[in-house]
């Protein structure tokens, strides 16, 4: 069983697709239930994987590998093959992210009850998207990573363009082109590395690139080549994360895409950018990464402040949250720039914590939009009176977002800044301004909706029982990590240790 466990996990969402193909497309109720059950199966498989996963174990686990594509390159000294393998495996970091993916997917499927049309094709694309996301985190070579990376792209394009709000097509195109640029750069970098080293495997690449320069020269790998590759990777993942000024597509997507899809996008897809920065940036080119640390930190602080400032001035709750995501992704960069254990831990914690928090907040936006047909701050006020549970969850989510101690957001921000203060105190000090701004814009938005003069809402009933499930589960997870972060850090320690070893920290 264990030999194929990971492949089963990756392909598990396809079961839902298979069932859906034989479901009549008008049968709304069954399709939605299949949608939920179809995401529960990957979650179950992920839990089985977790139980088979040795938390304290070092290195790759549950690895699978077989030859997939082989080009024979004819050279004067005989045939040399360039094999491409199918390689999957997980370490602590990818295990955590896969868990996050499967959990958020279930909750997003529940939130998808609000989808109004074409449920069948919606859920088929939803499952394909989930498969792509799991695959990205399980892939152990560049080729496979790229394939899954692109697989997430296409369903997203459809989901935004078909089920989004008014300017959905524009948002879908903007998503496609920006991410297309990112993956174009990524592909060139991947192929260049493959052709230089003859391997695509993460571990082998890291080993090759860590050879002394004299040996690398024989393989025609110069320092400039390594630096060029790192910069290409940074730019590619900066589009995904996104790093200002490459963020405009992401705001558009967050405003236009249907709320369940934004939960996935903000919760998981943006994290692929962070994952890529950690695994490829810091993992493959530690020396070069170190020399760029200041610039990465600088971009982190810019992201944090810029996102926060813009969030402060928005009138639409969706846009507030979108810019808040930009701002929070800055903290990931700040953590990475620290180049030490605290910083790295903070960055990864932020990835997980923001995944949960943003999924929760965007879920709530969806609820609000369904009630009122709007997400403009001015249309709401005093919601707490008629929808107390909603208001409570919203306030809690907001507090988590601004980093209140006891919630997951606090741990990650604290660690990330702790890391940066050790190495670049001035930059870190400037960055802390962002935390204050965060508190201001979060409270401004949340309080404007929940308290104040009551505004007429046509359909102001509180969270229904189906709506409570995602809200409470996400809130519980946020609190759990906030109160007992050791569980997460235990999972992550072996992975982070090996990356830190490369960084010489």
């Amino acid at each position: 069983m264990n030999t194929w466990l990971l492949s089963i996990l990756i392909l598990s969402p396809l079961l839902g697709v298979l069932v859906l193909l034989f479901t009549p497309s008008q049968d709304e109720k069954s399709i939605k239930w299949i949608g939920i059950l179809g995401t529960l199966f990957p979650l179950g498989t992920a839990l089985v994987t977790l139980s088979a996963f040795n938390i304290s174990g070092k290195g790759l686990q549950l690895a699978e590998k077989f030859q997939w594509v082989s080009y024979e390159v004819f050279q004067t000294n005989g045939d040399v093959t360039y094999p491409i393998f199918y390689e999957v495996g997980i370490n602590g970091l990818s295990m955590v992210l896969i868990l996050l993916t499967t959990v958020v997917s279930v909750l997003a499927a529940i939130a998808s009850f609000s989808i109004k049309k074409d449920w069948k094709s919606y859920f088929i694309l939803f499952f394909l998207l989930e498969m792509g996301m799991i695959g990205v985190f399980a892939a152990q070579n560049l080729f496979l990573f790229f394939i899954f990376f692109e697989i997430t792209l296409i369903p997203m394009f459809f989901l935004i363009g078909r089920w989004g709000y008014l300017e959905r097509e524009k948002a879908a195109y903007s998503f496609l082109i920006y991410n297309g640029v990112g993956s174009a750069i990524l592909l060139i970098a991947f192929v260049a590395m493959f052709m230089k080293t003859g391997t695509m495997n993460f571990e082998q690449l890291a080993n090759t690139f860590s050879l002394p320069q004299s040996e690398l020269n024989e393989m025609n790998i110069t320092k400039n080549f390594k630096m060029g590759m790192l910069i290409a990777l940074l730019v590619a993942f900066a589009v995904k994360l996104p790093v200002a000024p490459l963020h405009s597509w992401m705001v558009r997507v967050h405003v236009q895409a249907p709320p369940p899809i934004v939960m996935l996008h903000s919760g998981i897809l943006l994290k692929i950018g962070a994952y890529g920065l950690i695994v490829f940036g810091a993992g493959l080119f530690p020396d070069q990464f170190k020399s760029l640390a200041f610039i990465i930190g600088l971009f982190g602080v810019i992201n944090l402040l810029y996102g926060a400032f813009l969030a402060l001035t928005q009138r639409d709750l969706k846009r507030v949250l979108a810019y808040s995501s930009v701002s929070h992704m800055g903290i990931v960069l700040i953590g990475l720039a620290g180049l030490n254990e605290e910083g790295m831990t903070g960055a990864v914690f932020q990835v997980v914590s923001h995944g949960l928090i943003s999924a929760l907040l965007f879920f709530l936006v969806g609820v609000l939009y369904e009630r009122a047909g709007s997400s403009q701050l001015q249309d709401f006020g005093g919601v707490a009176k008629r929808m107390p549970i909603f208001a409570g969850v919203m306030l809690a989510g907001g507090l988590a977002s601004l980093g209140l101690p006891g919630m997951s957001g606090f741990i990650s921000e604290f660690m990330a800044f702790l890391g940066l203060f050790e190495t670049m105190p001035v930059l870190a000090a400037v960055g802390t301004l962002g935390l204050i701004l965060t508190a201001v814009y979060v409270l401004r938005a949340v309080l404007a909706i929940t308290f104040g003069a009551e505004k007429e809402l046509t359909n102001a009933h509180d969270l229904s029982s189906t709506e409570r499930i995602p809200a409470f589960i996400l809130l519980a997870a946020i609190l759990f990590i906030g109160i007992y972060p050791a569980w997460l850090s235990d999972m992550l320690r072996p992975t982070l240790d090996s990356i830190l070893l490369g960084l010489g920290g």
Binding site: S70, A184, I188, A192
Partner: protein, 510 residues
């Protein structure tokens, strides 16, 4: 040449060609004796059966070692076998398309269409097997002349007439350029046999005339790029593609283009492999910048101009220009992967393009228009047409789990694998691929995001089979490309391409 010599050749080498020739002759005779009113549709079965038989014959030849007949003018080597499979497969699918093509205009010429198609195919196959400039040229002309007529088969359709006329004029010019270049090659070496040309090109005497070699290269290359519709000789493609009947367009964009690459590889690589350029450097290295600029220009012009097209056939004409640009990239980088990369990409291209043209044919004949708007709301109307079309488009755009992605990935490997790596060419290819997303995904957006009150499109059995076959191939080759690559490596030895066969002992009449 006496009868003994004639009989001593291994004619079995030409079995596939003979089958095609025989069926074409048979078709023309049957067409002549058939009643004028009776439908020519059943002839498609005969033509299809003939191609299938030829395809089987090629497969049976797979084990035969490299052989040549007719004084080394006609070769059966791995290269010719590998590409003949593509040519035959492509034409077979085109036959199915054409048998379902309904237009009053074509009906009276349907018989002609089938044997012209086979004649064109025969020309293409001759190009794949020839080792002599003269036979190559005969093959090229056979393909071209048949294509000119096919483009104008809808006699009362102005567009079709315009298409044929433009094709024949520009094709004639290109032929003249090709011949002009070949005359230089002949003048320099005094030979028409490709291998002897290659031998003589290495002659030290020629060093004095190295600029003539460069001249010969550039002119011949320019002339030969007409068929693949590479810039700057691409202008014919949009007009011809737009006016010609859809099956003919499919044939031109797939089979004829494949044949164009075949002749380009044969002539350019063999003739010039040992030729010195200016300053004694090998010419193939020296002209790299020129070919590179050509490839880049083709990709840029094709993809950028496609953005503005509303007519779906014109859009696909520009798209196929762009695809030719991609396939030129391995040609530039000249890596050891050259043959498998071009072969694989053309294989993938065959499925995705013919698949797309199948959908275009079905839709345009139902709607009576070729505007891109005919795709409106297709997913709602006919999901079984929209979903395959999506896969073809994703493949053309080079998105993973489709054959097109593997093809593009391979081309990148070729471009970046050498030292120095062609980073900027790869970058141009990637950037233009991004541009292509805009018009490719526009079709997807029209199919999925817009609603229409149009009616369902009925899919005849033959077309459904082509669609299913092409979709399956695009996906299977995308997930398991080794199926094709293993077949290629297992059956084709690239070295045979360069292997000169000693003239056999048939020469007692000399």
């Amino acid at each position: 040449m006496d009868l003994d010599t004639l009989l001593s050749f291994r004619w079995s080498v030409m079995l596939p060609e003979f089958i095609i020739l025989g069926v074409a002759t048979l078709l023309s005779v049957i067409d002549l004796f058939m009643k004028k009113e009776s439908s020519r549709k059943p002839l498609a079965w005969l033509a299809g059966a003939g191609i299938l038989a030829a395809l089987i014959a090629v497969f049976m030849q797979l084990d035969i070692e490299v052989t040549s007949i007719l004084y080394d003018t006609y070769r059966l080597d791995s290269f010719s076998k590998a590409f003949k499979i593509l040519l035959l497969l492509g034409t077979l699918l085109v036959i199915v398309l054409s048998s379902n093509y309904k237009k009053e205009d074509l009906e009276e010429n349907r018989g002609e269409f089938y044997y012209l198609l086979l004649a064109a195919l025969l020309g293409a196959m001759m190009m794949a097997s020839s080792a002599d400039l003269i036979t190559l040229f005969v093959g090229l002309e056979l393909l071209s002349l048949s294509s000119y007529v096919m483009a104008g088969l809808e006699r009362r359709n102005k567009r079709s007439n315009e298409s044929a006329f433009k094709y024949i004029v520009s094709g004639g010019i290109a032929t003249a350029i090709t011949l002009f270049g070949m005359s230089y090659i002949f003048g320099l070496t005094g030979e028409t046999n490709l291998f002897k040309i290659a031998e003589n090109m290495g002659n030290l005497e020629l060093l004095k005339h190295s600029f003539l070699i460069v001249f010969a290269f550039i002119i011949t290359f320019a002339g030969l790029t007409f068929k693949i519709a590479a810039a700057p000789l691409h202008m014919w493609a949009p007009d011809v593609y737009e006016g010609a009947p859809v099956p003919v367009t499919a044939f031109l964009s797939v089979v004829s283009k494949t044949a164009g690459f075949v002749i380009l590889l044969r002539v350019i690589i063999i003739c010039f492999i040992a030729a010195p350029g200016i300053d004694k450097e090998p010419i193939l290295l020296q002209v790299q910048p020129y070919v590179m600029v050509l490839a880049a220009a083709t990709m840029i012009i094709g993809n950028v101009t496609a953005l503005r097209q509303r007519n779906i056939k014109r859009m696909f004409a520009y798209s196929s220009i762009a695809q030719a640009g991609y396939i030129l990239v391995p040609f530039v980088s000249n890596s050891s992967l050259l043959f498998e990369l071009i072969w694989f990409y053309l294989l993938a291209y065959l499925f995705m393009n013919i698949g797309a043209f199948t959908v275009i044919q079905l839709l345009s004949s139902q709607e009576g228009s070729a505007d891109v708007g005919i795709f409106r709301g297709l997913f709602r109307r006919s999901p079984w047409l929209a979903v395959p079309m999506t896969f073809f488009i994703l493949s053309l755009a080079g998105i993973p789990i489709t054959a097109g992605f593997i093809g593009k990935f391979g081309i990148f490997m070729g471009a970046l694998g050498l030292d120095p790596a062609h980073y900027w060419l790869a970058a141009v290819m990637m950037a233009t691929t991004l541009v292509s997303y805009v018009y490719y995904f526009n079709i997807i957006a029209i199919m999925f995001f817009r609603d229409s009150d149009g009616t369902k499109v009925s899919i005849p059995g033959g077309m459904a089979a082509v669609l299913a076959f092409c979709t399956a191939s695009v996906i299977i080759l995308g997930i398991m490309p080794d199926l094709a690559l293993d077949f290629f490596y297992g059956n084709f030895d690239v070295n045979e391409f360069f292997m000169q066969i000693e003239t056999e002992v048939h020469t007692h009449d000399h």
